[in-house]
């Protein structure tokens, strides 16, 4: 299978008082085309920063991110969904979705049409003319997803997109995401600290841990889809990941002591 993105030797972290503090070191990671890859790790291992580097919002200290998506003037190779929906409050829903289309080589009618299509894909076609503050948290997050889908990316980056939602809404949106993923065949790089979520959604789960963090374990979730949330196969996978996580957490504590 061909890769959509190839990350090699990536180190990143934060800068304070002109000093670089490495948080994540020497990361090698590839995402296959059409793959759903989840990255799991405790807070502070640089999961979000990794996505920010991939989408170009911040610079890595070292290493290389190769995006192998086709470059076309009317699409963006990568799009991001943030933890908080981050909609522009002064734009109605449809215009929010158009944000990423405005820099592309598209006429107004096409922009509108693509935004409407993305909106239908997340099931909120009836909300096109609402203000963001009139929506629920779950709806806002779906608009954030639609905004990313509208640019027709090959790779979708998702930064704990459901973490701020209540459990019921979260389940609904997870299933919605799986449906959209199956329909659109996107590659997804999904960051979360929720093991159940990672196991339920992903083809492959990568565990980050240690200090500075690195890949501690990698799991392929072979449970066939659609998956039963309370099925035995999934429970086994979750158990395995959980064991791996406590291992790497113990390692992290030991190495930072």
């Amino acid at each position: 299978m061909a890769k959509i993105i190839e990350i090699s030797g990536l180190s990143l972290g934060f800068q304070r008082d002109e000093q670089q503090h490495t948080v994540l070191e020497n990361l090698h990671l590839g995402v296959e085309r059409g793959e759903f890859l989840a990255i799991v790790g405790p807070s502070g291992v640089g999961k979000s920063t990794l996505l920010r580097v991939v989408v170009g919002l911040t610079q890595a200290f070292a290493g290389d991110v190769k995006v192998l998506a086709d470059k076309t003037p009317n699409r963006r190779p990568i799009a991001m969904v943030f933890q908080e929906a981050r909609l522009l409050p002064w734009r109605k829903v449809l215009r929010n979705i158009m944000l990423g289309l405005e820099g592309l080589d598209l006429d107004a009618a096409t922009r509108r049409e693509r935004a409407e299509r993305a909106l239908s894909l997340v099931g909120l076609a009836h909300c096109a003319e609402r203000w963001p503050h009139e929506l629920s948290g779950g709806q806002r997050q779906r608009i954030g997803l639609a905004r990313a889908l509208a640019v027709e990316p090959e790779l979708l980056l998702m930064d704990e997109p459901f973490a701020a939602l209540d459990a019921i809404t979260r389940q609904g949106l997870q299933d919605e995401l799986l449906r959209i993923w199956a329909e659109t065949k996107k590659s997804i790089l999904f960051v979360t600290h929720d093991i159940d979520e990672a196991a339920y959604l992903a083809d492959r789960v990568i565990l980050l841990g240690g200090s500075p963090a690195h890949v501690t374990r990698e799991f392929s979730i072979r449970t066939p889809r659609p998956r039963a949330r309370d099925g035995a196969a999934l429970a086994a996978a979750v158990g395995e990941i959980r064991a791996g996580l406590s291992e790497s957490y113990a390692y992290r504590v030991a190495s930072s002591a």
């Binding site: 919002l57 963006r76 943030f82 981050r86 522009l88 409050p89 944000l99 405005e102 592309l104």
Partner: protein, 250 residues
């Protein structure tokens, strides 16, 4: 409270004030030139109108006001936004502003006269100073407090140029603060317009000084109320526009 009830109570308050004032003026406790009765104002208005003074003075004051308002607001917003976007300029302006800003607009009158003579330009200049500072600070603060997360969203979705970010995110996000500044300036402008005309530039202020010299206090009151009404109208119109522009707010 219902809308009609609110309106009715507002009217009751206003009418009671006028009645109290009328009663006091007529009681003979003070001379009618010291406190003219409100009922004397319509007559004063008629005579000022017949002489053509009222129309001319309002037109003249309005033109000083409009010019000062436009210049002060435009420069204040533009420079405020620009400074907020340039951290170095922002740091270097801090002390200049701290010293220059507290100078009241009226303290510029001597220079206004030396530079522009007793002219319309001088009045507009004085008016624009007060309005400038209000808008400068409003715009500066509004831009500085724009949510950085939203700027990041614009970047993540391909708006990398400074201009793109300015128009897609910064200005709309700062618009409530900027509009608030414009509205405050709108009021401040009417306050300085009169003061700026007191030293002889034709307008409402000058007419008031003339009238008070003749103890025609009913005429003074007429122009006081005129200013109040002009401010009320401009503020109301601006508020309607503001509500429209900020309909997206909760």
């Amino acid at each position: 409270m219902t809308k009609t009830k609110t309106l009715a109570l507002g009217a009751v308050g206003l009418v009671s004030l006028l009645l109290l004032w009328e009663g006091f003026a007529r009681s003979g406790a003070v001379q009618s030139t010291l406190i003219p009765a409100p009922s004397a104002v319509p007559a004063a208005w008629m005579s000022e109108w017949d002489l053509g003074f009222w129309q001319d003075m309002v037109a003249a004051s309005f033109s000083h006001y409009a010019v000062g308002l436009l210049i002060g607001s435009f420069l204040g917003v533009c420079i405020g936004v620009a400074v907020a976007l340039m951290p170095r300029v922002n740091a270097s302006q801090a002390w200049i502003v701290r010293i220059v800003r507290p100078i009241p607009p009226l303290a510029w009158i001597p220079f206004a006269i030396i530079w522009f003579g007793v002219s319309e330009t001088a009045a507009a200049f004085i008016i624009s100073i007060g309005i400038f500072w209000i808008n400068y600070f409003a715009a500066l603060t509004a831009v500085q407090s724009v949510d950085k997360d939203l700027i990041e969203v614009a970047r993540a979705f391909g708006h990398h140029s400074a201009i793109g970010r300015l128009f897609k995110v910064i200005l709309p996000a700062a618009s409530p603060g900027i509009l608030g500044g414009l509205r405050t300036g709108l009021g401040q402008g009417w306050m300085t317009v009169i003061a700026a005309e007191l030293f002889g530039i034709p307008g409402i202020g000058q007419r008031m000084i003339e009238a008070s010299g003749l103890l025609a206090t009913d005429v003074v009151v007429l122009y006081m109320l005129t200013i109040g009404a002009l401010y009320g109208i401009t503020d109301y119109i601006f508020m309607l526009a503001q509500n429209r522009l900020l309909a997206w707010q909760k």
